[in-house]
Assembly symmetry: C2
Homo-oligomer: 244 residues x 2
C-alpha cells in the first residue's frame, strides 16, 4: 500500500471549510471525488487541519492510501484536470507508511492579509480584509510579540471549555507592510478554534486604542474570551505552511 503525501492550495470562498459535512460543500468532498476518479477507487483523504468557511490555504497537506501505481507527476496532472478553478494540487510525494497529514504535523504557519486603504482592492475581494483605519505598524508589532512563547490561549479560543488543553507555543508573529498591503505571519505548534482570527482582531483593537498592548499578558492569564478583541474576518486568513 502506498501512502501519498499531497500538497494543494485552495481559495476557500465557495466552501464550508475543509472537513466533510452533510448538507454543505467542503474542500474534502470535492478533492476526494477527483482523487477517486484518478486512482480508480474510492478514497478518504486525511487532511492536516480543519479550516473555517471562507479561509484559504496556500499550502494544505493531505495524505491518501492507495494501491494504484500512478506516478506522482501523473497524479498531479490527473487530479488537476478534474478539480475546479479554486483548488490546485501543487506537489505529490511518496511518504513513509506511518506518515499522517494531521498526526505527524509538528507546527503550522498562518498568514493574515489586510488591505489597508480608504478604497477597496477590486482584485482582492474575498482574499484580504479591507481595513480603512490608519495602521500603526510599530505598535502592532510590539503587541504581536506578546503572543510569542508558551501561553494559555483560552482567552483566544471561541469554544473554550475547562477540560480542554489550551496551552500552545507561538514561535513567531511577524507583521510585514508593503504599500497598502499588511501581512501577518504566525507560526506555532498548534492553534485553538479561531485563535489566529481572535489574535488578529485583538491586535486591531490595540491599533484602535481599545486594548492596551501591555494588557495582553493579563488578558492571557484571565482565560476569558470576553477580554480579547473581535474575531477577525475569515477571508483574510490563509493556512500558509505545515511543518513535519
Amino acid at each position: 500500500m502506498r501512502n501519498l503525501k499531497v500538497l494543494m492550495a485552495y481559495k476557500g470562498t465557495a466552501y464550508h471549510g475543509f472537513q466533510r459535512q452533510d448538507n454543505a460543500i467542503t474542500v474534502q468532498e470535492v478533492v476526494e471525488k477527483c482523487v477517486s476518479k484518478v486512482l480508480n477507487h474510492n478514497v478518504v483523504i486525511n487532511g492536516c487541519s480543519r479550516t473555517d468557511t471562507g479561509v484559504h490555504a496556500n499550502n494544505y497537506c493531505f495524505s491518501v492510501l492507495t494501491d494504484s501505481i500512478i506516478p506522482p507527476r501523473n497524479f498531479i496532472r490527473g487530479v488537476n484536470g478534474h478539480l475546479p478553478a479554486d483548488i490546485s494540487i501543487l506537489e505529490c510525494d511518496e511518504a513513509a507508511p506511518e506518515f499522517h497529514a494531521r498526526f505527524s504535523c509538528i507546527g503550522k504557519e498562518y498568514e493574515y492579509r489586510i488591505h489597508n486603504s480608504e478604497s477597496k482592492n477590486p482584485f482582492e475581494t474575498d482574499l484580504s480584509y479591507h481595513y480603512r483605519r490608519p495602521f500603526d505598524a510599530d505598535l502592532v508589532r510590539y503587541a504581536a510579540k506578546k503572543f510569542i512563547g508558551t501561553h494559555n490561549f483560552a482567552s483566544f479560543c471561541s469554544n473554550y471549555n475547562e477540560k480542554q488543553d489550551t496551552v500552545r507555543t507561538i514561535y513567531d508573529f511577524s507583521v510585514e507592510i508593503n504599500g497598502d498591503s499588511v501581512k501577518m505571519l504566525v507560526k506555532g505548534n498548534g492553534f485553538l478554534y479561531n485563535m489566529i482570527r481572535i489574535m488578529v482582531g485583538t491586535l486591531l483593537a490595540v491599533n484602535e486604542g481599545n486594548i492596551k498592548a501591555d494588557d495582553l499578558e493579563s488578558i492571557m492569564k484571565a482565560k476569558n474570551r470576553q477580554l480579547a478583541g473581535r474575531t477577525a474576518a475569515a477571508h483574510g486568513l490563509y493556512l500558509n505552511r505545515i511543518f513535519y
Copy 2:
C-alpha cells in the same frame, strides 16, 4: 464648471470592456450610474482608453464635468459606497478645464501577468494567464528589447487597414520574474488594437521556438499580422499607468 480627474481600479472579468455598449454591461455604464447618484445629475465620463472584455486596470483615469461642490474625498467615499466589489475609486483631483482623460494622455503602461507553473494558482483565476511551459527569461527579455523604439506595428494589430497610422513608440518593455510569477511591463506613447496581447503572444512563440527573436524586425517591416504570434489571453492584461 469643475473638471474632476478620477483614478480607479477594476477587475474586468464581468465587463465587456470599458466603453459603453448597447446590450452588454460595461465599466463605463456602471461607473456613470454611481457617479450620477453622487453628483445628483446625469453624467457622461471621459475614459482614458477602451479596454477589451476581461482586461483589468490597476489605474484607469476618467474625467467628468460637474457643478457639484462635493469635496474630492467625499466623492471617493460616496461613489465607492455605490460601486460593486470589482470597481474601486482610488483618487479624485480638480483638473484644469482643458484636461481630458483621453486626449491629454501622452503615454500608457500596460502589465501582462503570467502564472508560470505546472499547477494553476487558485487565487488568480481570471487574473493571470496560466502558462505551463518552461519560460526562458533571458531569451524573452532579448526578444522584448526588439520592440523598443519607434516602429510600424501593423503586424501587431488585429484590425489593420492601410489608411491607419500604425507607427508607435515603445519606451520600455521589461520582463520580471518572481518565483512562478512573470510580469511584463510595456510603456509606450500609444497602442493599436490588441497590440500588447499580440506582442506578448509573439514573445511566447519566441519562448517556444516557433518564432526567432532575430526575425522580429523583419516581422515588423512586413506589416503582416499573420507573421506575428497569437493574441495572448485578455485576462492577463492590466492597464497599469496613464501619463499626462
